[in-house]
């Protein structure tokens, strides 16, 4: 059972990672665009227990760190996504008002995505990764948040279905 869940989760995340790198990265969106992979990770975390969310965040972070377009050191995104996934699951787990409402999940994912990007930037600064100008950073974070707000409602039913398929559960959203 554990092996099946692990295999399915790995396949889903790898598929989305390839889709992000091969398709989304090639399209020019206004104001920076969005990360399909990051949205998937955060929705998945919002639907999982904190333990599972942290483990999934670790795996997703490793994949994101291995992306050639990532400029930070290996482990940078891993650290951010472990903490962010755990936090998002910790706040939503057990709260059916939060989990049962798609609007709450969309808003939570958007906020978490913006915080994740800002955290990545701040920790990157501490680790010596050169960042762009403050105004450009603000535009990128705000643009990403806006795109996430648009894309998450479209992606949410798919992720919920995949999550149910993986964990043999019936999530009501």
């Amino acid at each position: 059972m554990l092996l099946r869940r692990f295999g399915l989760t790995g396949t889903i995340f790898t598929f989305f990672f390839i889709a992000q790198e091969a398709v989304i990265s090639q399209l020019s969106f206004p104001a920076g665009g969005f990360s399909l992979f990051l949205i998937l990770t955060l929705i998945w975390a919002a639907l999982s227990t904190p333990d599972v969310a942290a483990a999934v965040g670790f795996g997703a972070g490793i994949l994101l760190d291995l992306s050639p377009s990532t400029n930070g050191p290996l482990g940078h995104w891993t650290l951010i996504l472990v903490l962010m996934s755990y936090a998002i699951a910790f706040f939503s787990y057990g709260d059916e008002n939060m989990r049962g409402n798609p609007l709450s999940i969309v808003l939570m994912v958007t906020l978490a995505q913006a915080i994740a990007l800002a955290s990545y930037l701040v920790t990157g600064f501490l680790l010596g990764v050169t960042a762009t100008s403050f105004s450009q950073t603000l535009i990128t974070i705000a643009g990403n948040a806006l795109w996430t707000l648009v894309v998450t409602p479209l992606l949410l039913p798919v992720v919920v279905w995949l999550h149910d398929l993986t964990f043999d559960s019936r999530m009501r959203i």
Binding site: S35, L66, P68, S69, L74, G75, N144
Partner: protein, 312 residues
């Protein structure tokens, strides 16, 4: 039981955080295995990126056609490639012209100011998550591309090869905030350092405060030791404004890059540097206004018989 579960969860979280920090430490210490992992990922992703490019090109062309109201995208792409080729030939020709000038003036000094280039298609732009300005090109180690090679477009400097994989490479664009290049002003030959600002403009710091710099001056790459990362003589940008702050130790100016970073489709990597510094032969020629013929009308007064006597 619940406490046990919570403790186990916290333990897992701590283990994962420590593992992440361990990975960061290993990477910052420059462990080669981790670089190999990224290289392997890029090699694995490269076919998907190519496939994505093939699949998305018609979609992008369709959107572009709609945007451009009927202009055929393929025709524009072909013309762009042709234009790029002609510009590269022009650069090469200018190198040869420069060589002839050098041979005429100094007979024992010969140099072939000719770039050997490998052209490549841009297959991906940098991720919006990376906060950097970079592109991925579809030529890599197998095409002779190495790290720190200069990348140019038909208009001038584009950037430097940052990472090389078997069939692809990542190019750090000149607009990246971490990008710095030593430049000289065409003509006066004064040197300075140009830094990227994350946009199509850059900041120039001159090393000598005595030099007069003016709007419109062209900047050329000064060149590096063994021509890496920068080959000498590549046009970089044009001065758009000069800052003359009183009491400033050095002069600074704002420079607009000559390359158009918004429409990079095909770029060229300089795989072999010119043997001689081409100096200013690559300076873009200013457009010469077409002379308008002036019609001059000479009016000759008709001779009068008696200038003092009024004619009736």
């Amino acid at each position: 039981m619940r406490n046990g579960g919570e403790n186990r969860g916290r333990l897992l979280l701590v283990i994962l955080i420590v593992s992440s920090l361990f990975l960061i430490t290993l990477d910052l210490r420059g462990v080669n295995v981790l670089n190999g992992l990224r290289s392997g990922t890029q090699s694995a992703l490269s076919p998907f990126q190519r496939a994505g490019n093939v699949v998305l090109t018609p979609v992008k062309n369709f959107v572009s056609d709609i945007t451009h109201l009927g202009r055929t995208r393929n025709q524009i792409e072909d013309l762009r490639k042709q234009n790029q080729k002609l510009r590269e030939q022009l650069i090469s020709r200018k190198n040869q012209d420069g060589e002839i000038k050098q041979l005429k003036s100094i007979l024992d000094l010969a140099g072939t100011a000719r770039f050997k280039i490998v052209s490549a298609k841009v297959i991906a732009q940098g991720s919006s998550l990376a906060f950097t300005r970079a592109i991925t090109i579809d030529a890599g180690r197998s095409s002779g591309i190495k790290k720190n090679m200069t990348v140019i477009s038909g208009n001038g400097l584009v950037g430097v090869v940052k990472e090389v994989f078997t069939n692809s490479a990542i190019v750090m664009l000149a607009t990246d905030p971490a990008f710095k290049v030593g430049v000289r002003i065409a003509g006066s030959q004064q040197i300075g350092i140009l830094s990227g600002l994350g946009s199509s403009t850059a900041n120039l710091q001159l090393l000598d405060n005595q030099t007069a710099i003016k709007v419109g001056d062209i900047l050329l790459a000064r060149g590096s030791v063994n021509a890496q990362p920068f080959v000498p003589g590549v046009p970089v940008g044009r001065v758009t404004s000069v800052s003359n702050a009183a009491g400033a130790v050095t002069q600074s100016a704002t420079v607009k890059y000559l390359a158009s970073f918004g429409s990079l489709g095909v770029v060229s990597v300089v795989v072999k540097a010119p043997k001689a510094d081409p100096r200013d032969v690559l300076v873009p020629v200013k457009p010469v206004p077409t002379p308008i013929p002036t019609v001059t009308v000479f009016v000759t007064p008709s001779p009068s018989t008696s200038p003092s006597a009024p004619s009736n």
